[in-house]
Amino acid sequence: MNTSVSVVIPAHNAARFIGQAIESVFQQCEAAAYLALDVIVVDNTSTDATCDVVQRDFGSKVRLLHEPKPGAACARNAGIAAATAPLIAFLDADDLWLPGKLADQFAALGAQPDVSLVFCHGVEFSDPPAAFPCNLESRPFLHPSGLLARREAFDIAGPLPEFRCGEFIAWYGWAQTLGLKSLVAPGSFVRRRVHADNTTRDRQGLAEYTQAMHWLMERRRAHAAAAAGATGR
């Protein structure tokens, strides 16, 4: 069985976090040496030392790509295009994985061949400590940092729509429409960093939620029309 996983880490001005994030990825192999990791850092228009830190501390252990189009969706798509493994995971540069994340999800996918997407649970933490209110209770982490996906999911549903907001929500909705199965594993393996520079949703950013939902509805309508045509109704 192929045990390789491509891990796509989109990074925009993440010099302060990226080292920790990548380490949390390599830690996955400590108790699961069978995993072969293809770690892809996608620099997304960083103007800080993100790339220097990655090259200095991880060198040839990771692949460093540059995606000039701004937006996490563009960076993730560049990573998906470059990924070589049959399984793809994402980790935002400011989030962290806990040990066992990939092994747990790898086992879940192995046990259920009909499932394409497996999420895990996650918690939040404040950086600096106690500065920001956090949800400390583990809850379903339906976010790219909590996902392990079969590569086919992206072959079938296509890349993420390139919006600044709601892009993953819309893609997931589309994947559901196409019948891709997903599940949420009970283990809590993601720590989401809440910090002063969390992507702020400005007015323009929020407006892209409506664009993402429109994208989804258009696709669903075309899909339904095609299905109706195919069955002769």
């Binding site: 010099a15 302060r16 103007t47 800080d48 030392a49 939040e124 950086d127 600096p128 400590p129 106690a130 500065a131 920001f132 209110p133 956090c134 949800n135 809850r139 379903p140 982490f141 339906l142 976010h143 907001c165 709601g166 993953f168 929500i169 997931y172 909705g173 559901q176 989401r192 809440v194 910090h195 002063a196 969390n198 992507t199 702020t200 949703r201 400005d202 007015r203 929020l206 407006a207 939620y209 409506t210 664009q211 939902m213 429109h214 509805m217």
Partner: protein, 585 residues
């Protein structure tokens, strides 16, 4: 006036509900619960007609009747049903008389014959929505809040310690609008919507949305009215003071340090060895060796503690704040139980800090309800709310501004965060100019004087070393990026550049920095109104108690001084010289 049952005008429930027109389809997203909607063509037209400006049902009926060439009574019946559905979902809200309706001529000819306005609702992705923008945080104001996408704080439970007796009750106040008029122009700051607007005689109205995240319009709590303090409120203050004395006695005493701030003697009391002692160094350049004969104008007690040792009634309040501040506080953290004409109390849930000011007896308290280190912004700019509210009735204005200068006087650098004022101030200090603050000052408008508050400067990250290599490695706050933390570094310039930090300076000009991509820096005159627009909204957005009195004082200052735009070039070494030349001119 809105009379129950006779409301006829509605507007889109922004900013919680967003919408966009795609070709002929209006798509609506409710950010509170992640539901999304598609509107039929006639429904979309009605939706856009209600819009953010509001319109009456009659006006929208008439519009649809014109567009579809149908009798209004047919439309009216369908539209009422549609409006009922939208209001039931809280997508539109009733409001006073709308400002009008779109001109039928501006609406595209419908693609299809009339069908009743209709709403298709989808909620299959709610769970993902609620997880998406989990938090928006505002480190400067220190007031954390749930993002529009969903609750970051668990919904409030029933009171843990019995019902609270409130000194202030929430009340609708007809909008939280600050108004400033200068030179025939008007500046409006609406903290309920997070929008500020300029009404200029020659340019018309411009809306500004760049401070929305600071003003947090999505906090829905009603603004509490100030009432007379209750006996219970006064008793709570005594217990708060007692709690400080008790905690100090357990820990080995009280440290008293005196400062002269804005011409007033202020005594700061802390408890030795506590983290709260780190609040003092930012004021160190204003320290005076002993109590003046006149005694203290204001006494501030600052400490970590209050739990669980606090006296019973106080412990109950503190516990409620910690557990469910969202129901105990007004939209800017006003503690409802204490908020009154004689007491100001603000709770900041992020750093877990309660700030209380007793106007009558000139006592202030800053209590951090845990032992976690104070975040960098409290260490760099301590007692913001206390100093603002205590000095306001004394005619001195707390402003979000930097002040630097020469022996001839100084400039007040104004603008929102990120505009370049802090960097400019630090570059000037590095070049040998006098320094009275990089972020906040206390202004005396009647004498055009800037009193220094804090001797601190801040760097965001290693990228700032290129501009200010002198500061590298000198921050001591544990959350500094230089110490492995994720915060700004705080630098005490009274130690680094003792010859440059001053207690105050006469002001010669207000300067509005603008970052440009050009090489050279230069100044050009601008209007006093431009300076006011750069200074007032970002100041008001950071001060929970900001009022029209604050606006008046900022207007008075802007009227008194010439104003300039400072175009910041990429050759940063030239910046101090530009300001020196301006001051010498």
């Amino acid at each position: 006036m809105i009379i129950q049952g006779r409301v006829e005008s509605y507007r889109v429930n922004e900013p919680d509900v967003i919408h966009q027109l795609f070709d002929r389809e209006v798509v609506v997203v409710d950010l509170r619960n992640g539901s999304y909607y598609s509107l039929s063509e006639s429904g979309g037209t009605a939706w856009l007609a209600f819009g953010s400006a509001a319109a009456s049902i009659d006006a929208v009926t008439e519009l649809l009747a014109t567009i579809y060439a149908l009798p209004p009574d047919v439309i009216a019946r369908d539209l009422r049903r549609f409006v009922e559905e939208l209001t039931a979902r809280d997508l539109i809200v009733a409001c006073p008389q709308g400002e009008g309706v779109m001109d039928a001529a501006t609406v595209a000819t419908p693609a299809a014959a009339y069908s009743p306005p209709e709403l298709r609702s989808y909620n299959d992705l709610q769970e993902l929505f609620l997880l998406d923008p989990v938090h928006e945080v505002d480190a400067v104001a220190g007031w954390p809040h749930a993002a529009a996408g969903g609750p970051a704080v668990p919904p409030p439970a029933e009171p843990a310690g019995g019902p609270a007796t409130t000194g202030a009750s929430p009340a609708a106040t007809g909008g939280d609008l600050l108004t400033a008029k200068l030179g025939g122009h008007t500046l409006l700051v609406n903290r309920d919507t997070g929008v500020y607007s300029t009404l200029e005689a020659d340019r018309g109205t411009t809306e500004h949305h760049d401070l929305e995240t600071l003003m947090r319009p999505w906090i829905e709590a009603d603004r509490p009215l100030r009432r007379a303090a209750t006996a219970q409120g006064r008793q709570l203050l005594d217990r708060l003071d007692q709690s400080f004395t008790d905690d100090a006695a357990t820990a080995g005493g009280i440290v008293e340090q005196w400062y002269e701030i804005g011409g007033e003697a202020i005594c700061v009391r802390t408890i030795p060895e506590q983290d709260s002692e780190r609040l003092r160094p930012a004021l160190r350049h204003l320290a005076i060796p002993e109590a003046p004969a006149t005694g203290a104008g204001l006494t501030i007690s600052a400490w970590n503690g209050g739990m669980p040792s606090a006296p019973p009634m106080l412990a109950n309040l503190l516990q409620r704040l910690r557990r469910k501040w969202c129901t105990e506080c007004g939209p800017r953290g006003e503690v409802l139980e204490l908020h009154s004409s004689e007491i100001s109390a603000i709770y900041n849930a992020g750093p877990n800090v309660l700030t209380v000011l007793d106007f009558e007896r000139n006592r202030g308290w800053l209590l951090k309800l845990d032992d976690v280190a104070f975040p960098y912004w409290e260490v760099g700019s301590p007692f913001r709310f206390l100093l603002h509210e205590w000095f306001a009735p004394r005619g001195l204005q707390y402003v979000h501004a930097a002040a630097v200068g020469t022996a001839r006087g100084g400039v007040l650098l104004v603008g929102k965060g990120g505009s370049g004022k802090s960097t400019t101030a630090l570059l000037c200090a590095a070049a040998g100019l006098q320094y009275a603050g990089d972020d906040y000052c206390l202004i005396d408008p009647s004498h055009a004087w800037a009193h220094s508050l804090y001797n601190t400067g801040k760097l965001k990250g290693p990228e700032d070393y290129a501009r200010l290599p002198e500061l590298k490695g000198l921050s001591t706050n544990p959350d500094s990026f230089e110490r492995g933390g994720d915060g700004k570094g705080v630098y005490f310039l009274d130690e680094i550049w003792p010859d440059r930090v001053v207690a105050g300076m006469p002001l010669r000009a207000i300067v509005v920095p603008r970052i440009t991509g050009q090489l050279a820096s230069y100044v050009e005159p601008c209007s006093a109104f431009e300076a006011l627009v750069a200074m007032l909204p970002s100041t008001a957005a950071q001060l929970p108690a900001a009022s029209n009195d604050d606006c008046d004082r900022m207007v008075a200052l802007a009227e008194k001084l010439p104003a300039y735009l400072l175009h910041l070039g990429t050759d940063i070494r030239g910046i101090p010289a530009v300001l020196t030349t301006l001051l010498n001119g």
